[in-house]
Amino acid sequence: MEYGQNISVKQADLYYGDFHALKNINIEIPAKKITAFIGPSGCGKSTLLKCFNRMNDLVEGCKITGEFKIGEVDIYKTNDVNALRKNVGMVFQKPNPFPMSVYDNIAYGPRTFGIKKRAQLDEIVERSLKQAAMWDELKDRLNKSALGLSGGQQQRLCIARALSISPKIILMDEPTSALDPISTGKIEELCGELKEQATIVIVTHNMQQATRISDKTGFFLLGDLVEFGDTDQIFTNPKNEKTENYITGRFG
């Protein structure tokens, strides 16, 4: 079965121990679009995002029910988590480049999946950095430690690293919350370009960001997906009163 680029979630519930963190979530995330998750802190945005690449497997006492499909694959039925994560990349809130050279950071993913030839790796590194609009910045420092880059550069490097294995979907959990406005702008621009080839799901606290870059927006509250729809509609004409209260800044 093939991993596709759309995500389909049906009747999903998630518990951390006794705590009901996601409540009957149903959502259809379209392919090659940017979908934003918004909502107050602790409402379950990251939790849902981490379901898509099964990073929640790492959390002890986390129980998940319901159906999560990516393309045709029911991801909680497959037992090859690594293949899932190859198809569904992730960018974290805090940039987390490995303590290695820029080159090795990007080559890490391809190497994981058995690519060893230098020429092939060179090509992937160049392609990924170009896609992340960093090639010109970094081509002379490929062998320098990635930890030496600025925060914004580190985050874009992490995006390049995620791109290195050509994921069909990229999950981003508040990727710009630790960055300055200029770096944030660059990453937003990048997202716009990346949706040509990949589906992007982004968690953000910044509502302007959601309106600027996303096609679809989901609003979460206390583990519920309160409203999901076109970004324009959500921000100009929300159907649910809670959504309206939130986007107009009445709480959260």
Binding site: N53, M55, L58, E60, N79, D80, N82, A83, L84, R85, K86, G89, M90, F92, K94, N96, P97, F98, P99, M100, Y108, G109, T112, F113, R141, K144, S145, L147, G148, L149, S150, Q153, C158, R161, A162, S164, I165
Partner: protein, 600 residues
């Protein structure tokens, strides 16, 4: 897909298996030593053995005949308790005040220097302490002794005290530094002086940590062997004065093992078993302190103690005590090193270092150097992978509250508390016997390997803990499996700690002597011709040279070589740790500042 699953499962099984070795080792040590002591205990009689006050063994005693010798160890138990109390009085006090000094009263360069000195004190071999005590420290105190010879309880307590000082200091310091800074600020806000805040607020808050430090110090003092043998005097009697000769349990084993008869041997193993009981008690106490410290948060005040403390002006006295303790530790270290260098350097000759060894003739320590290197090589090859794998299991595969994990942890704790001489006993009845009954470098290396495990495990675990989870998440999110994540991302980031562990382990092999004496041999020999040869490490050679009292110059020279190696290793470990730490986080800064400059 399937093959990677198998690899992951296999990896986990191997890590778990190595971790299991620690449990196995603990069980084996207890079982073997106790099994060896049962025949002797039943022959001698349990109460006669424990409460008998006469130790007068007869090497011809065998289990089949009636006993001629006397085998009561009460005097040695009392001797061990006395010297431990003495050591605690000296080392506990000095260590405590030094820790407070380091934590609150000194800064910058001075702090670094004293810290390093305390670490170096921990690295100095037991034989060197003993040797320095006999050759130098004792001379300062001989006038106080009625016999004109300062061997005995006082000297032992002093030396043991300094030996446990680093343990007490570093643990106390850690727990003091773990007290939230807000407590201190709170105290100052109420008008307390710096000193008052330190002694009345910070120290009480770290109470359970300090207790743990003292208990660990007691454990070390109980198990210390070589230095004690060299300064205690060793007559099996209860000392009735500070300068009376006495004997500890550990010394009893070292002194008589090599020529013991059947029952006597059994009695020595029984002595080892008693030491293990002490170790068990210490571990249990430690458990109480750890859990009890959290439960009894409410302040139980000791009225008398409070009355006394409220009268004392902590500001001055406490600060002075701290300063004096730290300075004392520093002076002791410096004078030990300087004395041994001065006395030893002139006697380091070509013959000693590179010459042929002849029985009864010229001494050469080349065979000992070779034997030491062989032991280092083999024990590192064994202990480092096992220790790292165990640490990986403990840190990377932990499920919170897993029973298996907590059992392994206690096993590691117990292993690190078992006295080195007991390891020697264990090696003698397992590895030596397995390898055909004669001493060999192989048997010695295997013995010390088990001893190294706890150190390697702890230090690796520390550095694994310091690797941020975001690295692991980053790797897993790229589709890497757990094994790849561990080997390619986690371990390389933990490298500083691992390399420091290797260096410290080497230092340990060089410093130890008790585990080797009855596994690889205690008499200085010509060049070993393989791992099945017997031999002596440098430290054992020093013990031998100094106890024979014939080759004083060679002994000084050997001590000198030994101390240079040990100091170099300890300093190297510190330096490497810092250097690599910097390389991992700091190289960073260089480039980052460059980048910023460009931007502006």
């Amino acid at each position: 897909m399937n093959s990677s699953k198998i690899k992951e499962q296999g990896g986990k099984a191997i890590f778990a298996g190595t971790a299991g070795i620690c449990i196995l080792a603990v069980i084996a040590i207890f079982v073997f030593i106790i099994l060896q002591s049962i025949p002797a205990l039943s022959k001698i009689g349990f109460t006669d053995f424990l409460f008998g006050t006469k130790w007068n063994p007869d090497a011809n005693d065998i289990y089949a005949n009636d006993l001629v010798g006397k085998y009561g160890i009460l005097n040695m138990i009392v001797g061990t308790v006395f010297s431990t109390i003495g050591a605690l009085a000296v080392g506990g006090t000095l260590g405590y005040f030094t820790a407070v000094y380091l934590a609150f009263f000194c800064k910058g360069k001075l702090k670094k220097i004293i810290n390093t000195m305390v670490n170096l004190l921990a690295g100095i071999p037991s034989v060197i302490y003993g040797f320095f005590a006999i050759k130098a420290v004792m001379k300062l105190f001989n006038w106080m002794s009625p016999t004109g010879n300062a061997t005995g309880l006082f000297m032992t307590s002093l030396i043991l005290g300094i030996m446990i000082l680093p343990t007490v200091t570093s643990l106390t310091k850690t727990s003091l530094e773990a007290v939230p800074k807000s407590y201190y600020e709170g105290a100052l806000a109420l008008g307390a002086t710096h000193e008052h805040a330190v002694f009345k607020t910070m120290v009480p808050a770290a109470k359970s940590g300090i207790k743990a430090a003292l208990i660990l110090g007691i454990g070390r003092a109980l198990g210390e062997t070589m230095a004690v043998v060299m300064v205690a005097g060793n007559s099996p009697q209860i000392p009735d004065g500070l300068f009376e000769s006495f004997r500890t349990l550990t010394a009893n084993i070292v002194l008589e093992m090599s020529y013991a008869g059947e029952v006597q041997m059994g009695a020595l193993f029984s002595t080892g078993a008693v030491l293990l009981v002490f170790v068990a008690v210490i571990n249990i106490l430690m458990g109480f302190v750890k859990t009890g410290g959290q439960k009894t948060k409410s302040k139980k005040s000791l009225p008398l103690w409070d009355k006394i403390t409220s009268k004392i002006n902590f500001g001055k006295i406490g600060k002075i005590a701290c300063f004096v303790s730290a300075v004392f530790a520093g002076i002791f270290l410096v004078s030990l090193v300087v004395y041994i260098l001065i006395m030893g350097l002139p006697h380091i000759t070509g013959q000693l270092l590179f010459g042929e060894f002849e029985y009864g003739g010229e001494i050469s320590i080349l065979p000992s150097i070779v034997a030491t290197l062989m032991t280092i090589l083999l024990s590192i090859v064994i202990a480092i992978p096992l220790g790292i794998a165990t640490a990986i299991f403990l840190n990377e595969y932990t499920k919170k509250g897993s029973r298996f994990i907590s059992i392994i942890r206690s096993a590691v704790d117990i292993l690190s508390g078992v006295p080195s001489i007991v390891y020697g006993l264990f090696g003698a009845i397992t590895f030596v016997v397995l390898l055909g009954g004669s001493y060999s470098i192989l048997a010695g290396s295997l013995t010390i390997s088990i001893m190294l495990l706890p150190t390697v495990i702890r230090s690796t675990e520390e550095s694994l803990k310091s690797v941020p989870d975001s690295f692991r998440e980053g790797s897993l999110a790229l589709g890497a499996g757990k094994l790849r994540t561990i080997f390619k991302v986690v371990l390389p980031s933990a490298m500083p700690g691992i390399i420091a562990a290797v260096i410290l382990s080497i230092g340990r092999v060089v410093s130890e002597s008790a585990p080797f004496m009855f596994t690889m041999g205690a008499s200085i020999k010509p060049m070993p011709d393989g791992y099945m040869s017997s031999g002596t490490t440098l430290a054992v050679a020093l013990y031998k040279l100094s106890s024979e009292n014939l080759h004083t110059n060679e002994a000084y020279a050997t001590a000198c070589i030994l101390i240079v190696i040990v100091l170099a290793l300890n300093l190297l470990a510190e330096w490497v740790g810092k250097k690599l730490e910097k390389k991992l986080n700091g190289e960073t800064n260089g480039i980052r500042t460059k980048h910023k400059r460009k931007a502006s």
